[in-house]
């Protein structure tokens, strides 16, 4: 699982470079994200523009990141499309993570 970090002020944009976040990869993804949160990155944009498949284990890992952040910050999702956007809609997690078309839009929503 390759994650690419870019800092924008106090917001960390994390782009997932793999095409899938599935049950095989979810534990590694979650560990890597929690490590960032525990280093103090509590305003995050998760860029899923390169991801074309997420299963419920991957989605559960994203939810657990939001729980780890808690009231200290926020996590926005950018670039979800196709099957990935559909999973957020089916599970109604799009009410929890509003889906932003671009990283720029997502940055506005998490800026402190």
């Amino acid at each position: 699982m390759t994650l690419n970090d870019t800092a924008h002020g106090d917001v960390l944009v994390v782009r997932v470079e793999d095409s899938r976040i599935d049950a095989a990869r979810a534990p590694e993804f979650k560990t890597a994200m929690i490590e960032r949160i525990d280093r103090g990155h509590v305003r995050l944009v998760l860029d899923l523009s390169k991801v074309d498949f997420v299963d419920s284990s991957g989605l559960g890992a994203i939810v657990s990141c939001l729980k780890r952040i808690g009231p200290r910050g926020n996590l926005a999702v950018a670039g979800a499309k196709g099957a990935v956007a559909k999973l957020f809609a089916l599970t109604r997690m799009d009410r929890v993570f509003p889906l932003h078309a671009s990283v720029d839009d997502a940055l506005k929503s998490v800026a402190g």
């Binding site: 899938r20 284990s57 559960g60 808690g70 559909k86």
Partner: protein, 145 residues
Amino acid sequence: MPGVVRLSIDSDLNQVEFIARAVRSLCDNLLGREDAEAVELAVVEAMNNIIKHGYRGRRGEAVDVNVTLTRSEVEVEVVDHATPIPERIVKGGEPLAFDFDATDVAGLPEGGMGLTLIRMSMDEVDYVSRPGENRLRMVKRIAAS
């Protein structure tokens, strides 16, 4: 045109992607993109459940997937020899939609979504458990063009 393709993997989450990609390419010419993606999700969720809950992460067991293609539907049957899905979950009137309080972050579900996603993604789902063998049959109908 009707045909049956039989696939088999070891009970290893790292191998689920191979089945997902194979089933996806079998569906691609028959179903539209959204329906093919729905079948891929259902198959992955079914296999994850078998490996994580049925075999409890134990490798070295077989998970078989039979894909039957006809003019009117794609049928995917997943066969395992693991602990079956508990009857209360299969029959237990599991909701066909996700209902939770989106404002209660601490209470958001992180798991247990697989079976509901399978039912939402496919047109028909049935599960038959016999001693030593479980069969999950999932059907996606091909939209008339």
